[in-house]
């Protein structure tokens, strides 16, 4: 359905009844409902709109099934009910009649044909193979989503209007998650379904992401699996339940193609998307439900989590500290320890084992957040299998000694604007003033221990920080504060793929903003139709003196609130303000 140029309800109504829109709506209906629409259309045109009972007889189904199908068709806005009789819109009947010419089933075929072959069960030996692969993938996806959320927390990713993520952000996120950029959309969808990431103008972690990151691996997997299950399209839910112990694969797609005969790419994409995510989450392996996957479909997330527990590797609580400043966890690290390490170390690679790197910057960040070097050293000693190597110890001591040598804050005196840097190390302040890399800041010495800049604290702080000066930001009371490039969005925004619903919502929102323009919009709409169809119309115009006059016009253009038209009687071209037009009538 076209999305552009829909400005009002008139545009919307016209669009919804055109052939493409009707077909789009039919594509979303299951075979039974389509058969009902075809039968209702046929009966309505021959013997009048049928009742539910007549439909049941015609289709050979019971009253409950007729009620289900009519409810679906009514909800889709393709069927009308009046006094217990049902009839589809003419455009719907016409479209269904035309189906055979597109290679789609006739009404008779819709009602009559049988579903494709039976399900293919999973052998016990395959199940072990499936479970092993599923466990691997579930673990890997969990790690990737975790890293993705940490990376988004650090800096949200710009979302492009045409879909996808801006390339630089994509690369950054892919590197953080240890995946290819092509895999990001899928991972973001998984996170979004679980309510962990929001797709506004930017992709950002939701408020639910913080407790999720702090929870255990199994709890995290459980919420991803729950998110998948809860957001599973309704039409797939029962279908997959029935296939909890059967191979999905092509058999599932064939069945869906039968069930949604006009579904085309829509249903195929939905099914494939659900299947891809299921594969990533270990709900399936090689298109076959794993033991946790079957438990999820049949008994819910808790049962699934209990099964997944047997496939996940055991967690470790000790690490190796190495002289190259890396920290290696020789197995999955418990979430609490992982979070503690991330306060003062950069996460590098994730897998069964994971590595972190401790740098001067990461230690400084922790100190700004209120950690102390002693606390960091204690934390490391408590989890290290091998003590603290000398180069790491040196780094901690050196960073602590340099920490806060420069303190930057906002100038807040009367008639002062910009930011200051203060330090007891006057030689260091001397160097700031002559550093060509900082020349753009226009630093001025205003005292032995102080330089100022007209730029704000953010600009000053990051310039000094990027130039590797030991700077911290402080507030008016001298307390060290963190300056982060961090954003976080609010609640979850519902993501739908029903274009019509979105358009109605959008038009309604637009109409609510500008209710007084509805009348004028209607006029403009009629004039546009006249322009498009080269029609002559009678236009009643209110003149400046309050009187009204009627013109016979052939509208030529409508722009900037003015109508340009040829006056058929006077044979001249007129330009009239839209605001002065009272009504528009066909000339005949």
């Amino acid at each position: 359905m076209r999305e552009h140029g829909i400005r009002d309800f008139f545009d919307l109504a016209e669009t919804l009844l055109d052939r493409t829109s009707v077909q789009a709506a039919l594509e979303r209906l299951d075979r039974g409902t389509l058969a009902l629409l075809a039968a209702a259309g046929e009966l309505a045109s021959t013997s009048g709109a049928p009742t539910a009972a007549e439909l049941g007889t015609r289709l050979g189904v019971d009253a409950v099934e007729v009620a289900r199908r009519t409810a679906v068709a009514l909800e889709a806005g393709l069927l009308a009910e009046e006094s217990g009789r049902f009839a589809p819109w003419d455009a719907v009947t016409d479209q269904l009649r035309a189906w055979p010419s597109f290679g789609l089933p006739t009404g008779g075929e819709l009602a009559g044909s049988l579903p494709p072959a039976a399900l293919e069960p999973v052998a016990a030996s395959d199940a072990r193979f499936v479970d092993r692969g599923a466990g691997d993938r579930a673990f890997a996806t969990l790690s990737a989503v975790t890293e993705l959320l940490y990376a988004l927390r650090e800096e949200p990713a710009r979302r492009l209007s045409r879909g996808g993520i801006a390339l630089p952000d994509g690369r950054r996120l892919a590197a953080a998650a240890g995946v290819e950029t092509e895999e990001l959309d899928l991972l973001l969808d998984i996170a979004a379904r679980a309510g962990l990431a929001d797709a506004g103008a930017d992709w950002a972690p939701s408020v639910a992401a913080t407790p999720w990151l702090a929870s255990s691996r199994l709890e995290r997997w459980s919420s991803l699996a729950r998110g998948w299950l809860e957001r599973l399209p309704e039409e797939l839910h029962e279908l997959l339940r029935q296939r909890a112990h059967a191979v999905w694969g092509q058999g599932l797609l064939d069945y869906l193609a039968w069930l949604y005969p006009a579904g085309g790419t829509w249903i195929r994409e939905r099914a494939q998307q659900a299947a891809r995510e299921a594969e990533q989450l270990g709900i399936t392996g090689s298109s076959t439900p794993s033991t946790p996957g079957a438990a999820l479909l049949l008994h819910g997330p808790e049962a699934a989590t209990a099964e997944m527990a047997t496939l996940f590797p055991a967690e470790v609580d000790k690490v190796y500290l190495q002289p190259d400043l890396t920290v290696i966890a020789p197995g999955p690290l418990a979430a609490g320890l992982d979070a503690r390490l991330r306060r003062f170390a950069e996460a590098e690679t994730r897998g069964l084992a994971s590595s972190y790197r401790i740098t001067a910057e990461s230690v400084t960040r922790a100190l700004v957040d209120g950690d102390s070097v002693e606390a960091i050293r204690d934390a490391l000693s408590a989890i290290s299998l091998t003590g603290i190597p000398q180069p790491l110890d040196y780094l901690l001591a050196d960073t602590a000694a340099r920490f806060g040598t420069l303190r930057a804050g906002t100038l807040d005196g009367p008639e002062e604007f910009g930011a200051y840097v203060r330090s007891e190390d006057t030689a260091l302040l001397d160097r700031l003033v002559v550093d060509p890399n900082l020349a753009a800041l226009g630093l001025r010495r205003t005292g032995e221990h102080r330089v100022v800049s007209r730029f704000d604290i953010g600009v000053l702080f990051w310039a000094l920080s990027d130039a590797r000066y030991p700077v911290v930001a402080e507030d008016a009371s001298g307390r060290v504060i963190a300056l982060r490039r961090e954003r976080r969005s609010g609640g979850v925004v519902a993501v739908g793929d029903d274009t019509a619903a979105i358009l109605v919502q959008r038009v309604r929102a637009g109409a609510a903003d500008e209710p007084e323009e509805t009348g004028q919009a209607w006029l403009a709409r009629q004039l546009e139709l006249a322009i498009r169809n080269r029609l002559t119309v009678r236009v009643l115009v209110r003149l400046p003196d309050g009187s009204e006059s009627e013109y016979l016009l052939e509208p030529a253009g409508l722009a900037s609130g003015r109508l340009r038209a040829r006056d058929r009687r006077a044979d001249i071209e007129r330009t009239l303000p839209l605001a002065s037009i009272v009504s528009v009538q066909p000339a005949d």
Partner: protein, 547 residues
């Protein structure tokens, strides 16, 4: 699954917990098919690559053996994707075989898998090298295309086994003279593996006796040999070593370099002369066919210049031995080494050889030096492109060098610098001779000899020391300045200190770093690299040193 020392990750890295009681066994088996990437103190990282798997397959190991190693020593179940990938990748090696038709002598390519042969013969990259199709499983190849076709097949993911044989070359007796020494076990094993495989590369760390492996291979081949080396100094060291360790006499060894052009049964040529052009043409190509060489030795194969690959592609009928400390090339052309020189035939990890007592362990120290305020101000006021030089040549370093030389009095010390005026100043202050690119070769050799015999205990050297020069007596290296922290350069520098020490003294590698400057940034890379190589790394303040 055992609670073993290996953690196999889905990104094809394998971590080895060094302290585990099965670590040694696991390391030996793993090294067959995985490349060691980092070897810091506690956890080593290996990577399973396609080339590594094919190298292992070429050496006779099967996918089942490799998977068995992983499964036996793994701490967690081996990711399924890794198992599947190893089996699939290894299965690709040897599906294509290049050989000679026993009757016509034509070069042919065969496969038991017609589909694979069909796939590769359809490739536009391979088509120019094909002759005629004899059957669904056999094609002839152009006689000149043996090297190029191997390169292209590797790129297509179907590495071919080369069974086309070698020209024996002109026989020439060469024996090792092992009166007061013997090939070490691993050197003999390297020679044996090489001959069993045909052609290929022996990977051994600096100081582990790669030249002796070359000499051993020459003795076993007993044929005229062309040895290609990185520079003239290295050529002369090869010559001296061959004279000392083999029955070869001066008349039998020729040097083919910028200054001398001798062709003898054993000829040592530089890469530079081989790639020298006159009027746009390689001027010394005739050397490659000057004699019927039965063996070509490529020293420091990781430095082999790109044009030599092209020339080597045409030398596939001659047996080729590559010698190197690392298969990692900074230009990423490892696959060309595999295709054109041959697969890896022997690989010994540095630390393992060290543990056998053949190489003294080196301790690395980074000495941080506070610059005085006036120097720091000058540094701060300078543009980025001047800062490195200012930091690297800070006068404050001079005093620290003096302290270190005094601390190691009586030892053989190399002081390494990048800037000539700094080298002048260091030489003058220390009263030591200097050795730069401008020093004539004879003078260089004289200074090296004096250093070896102890008459000159301290040498101030420029980048020239980075080349393949054998100075086994050095126990201390002090790097005052150096160019921008290339990993290869660090490996070379450390290589100076890894050579076996007759003195029994431990080796010490000092790097002087001006605090809070770009010098320190580069030092970070160095620290990472050296620690990753498994060397003890300590950071010192210059003040502590004086104390």
């Amino acid at each position: 699954m055992s609670d073993g020392p290996l953690i196999v990750q889905s990104d094809r890295t394998v971590l080895l917990e060094v302290a585990h009681d099965q670590a040694e066994d696991a390391r030996h088996e793993l090294a067959v098919f995985a490349e060691l990437e980092r070897a810091p103190e506690h956890v080593h990282t290996y990577r399973i690559t396609r080339l590594g798997l094919w190298n292992a397959r070429a050496a006779g190991h099967t996918a089942e053996q490799m998977l068995d190693t992983l499964e036996r020593f793994a701490k967690f179940p081996v990711p399924q994707t890794v198992s599947v990938d190893i089996a699939e990748t290894v299965g690709r090696y040897g599906r294509l075989i290049i050989s000679r038709d026993t009757e016509s002598g034509e070069l042919i390519i065969t496969s038991t898998d017609a589909a694979v042969l069909a796939e590769i013969t359809r490739s536009s990259k391979v088509a120019p090298f094909l002759g005629v199709r004899r059957s669904s499983t056999e094609w002839t190849l152009q006689p000149w295309a043996r090297g190029q076709v191997k390169q292209e097949l590797l790129k297509l993911g179907w590495p071919a086994e080369d069974h086309a044989g070698y020209t024996p070359g002109t026989a020439h007796d060469i024996d090792l003279v092992q009166d007061d020494w013997h090939l070490r076990d691993y050197q003999q094993k390297a020679v044996d593996n090489f001959f069993a495989g045909g052609s290929g590369v022996v990977v051994l760390p600096c100081g582990a006796g790669k030249t002796l492996v070359g000499a051993g291979a020459m003795a076993q081949a007993g044929t005229t040999t062309l040895i290609l080396v990185t520079n003239t100094v290295s050529a002369r060291q090869w010559r001296a070593e061959l004279l000392k360790r083999t029955t070869l006499t001066e008349d039998e060894i020729g040097e083919y370099s910028g200054s001398v052009k001798e062709v003898k049964p054993v000829t040592i040529a530089t890469y530079q002369i081989l790639t020298a052009k006159r009027k746009g043409e390689y001027a010394h190509l005739a050397l490659l066919d000057a004699l019927d060489w039965g063996l070509i030795v490529y020293d420091e194969v990781h430095l082999l210049p790109a044009p030599v690959f092209k020339l080597t592609a045409e030398l596939q009928a001659r047996r080729r031995l590559g010698l190197t400390a690392t298969l990692v090339r900074e230009d990423g052309r490892e696959s060309d080494v595999f295709s054109l020189i041959g697969p890896k035939r022997f690989d010994a990890p540095w630390k393992e050889i060290e543990a056998q007592g053949y190489i003294s362990p080196a301790s690395c120290y980074e000495v941080r030096i506070d610059l005085p305020d006036d120097e720091r101000l000058e540094y701060a006021a300078s543009a980025d492109d001047e800062r490195y030089r200012l930091a690297a040549t800070a006068p404050a370093k001079l005093r620290v060098v003096q302290d270190l030389v005094a601390k190691h009095a009586g030892e053989r010390i190399l002081v390494i610098g990048q800037y000539l005026d700094q080298i002048d100043e260091l030489a003058e202050t220390l009263g030591a001779p200097q050795l730069t690119g401008a020093t004539p070769i004879e003078e260089r050799e004289r200074l090296y000899q004096e250093f070896r015999d102890g008459t000159t205990p301290v040498l101030v050297v420029s980048k020239v020391a980075n080349f393949s020069i054998d100075l086994p007596e050095a126990t201390v290296a002090i790097q005052v300045s150096g160019s921008f922290g290339s990993r290869q350069e660090e490996a070379q520098r450390l290589g100076r200190l890894l050579r076996p020490k007759e003195s029994g003294l431990p080796a010490n590698f000092y790097t002087l770093v001006a605090r809070d400057t770009v010098d320190q940034d580069f030092a970070q890379n160095r620290q990472r690299f050296l620690a990753e190589q498994g060397y003890a790394y300590t950071i010192l303040d210059a003040g502590d040193l004086a104390a």
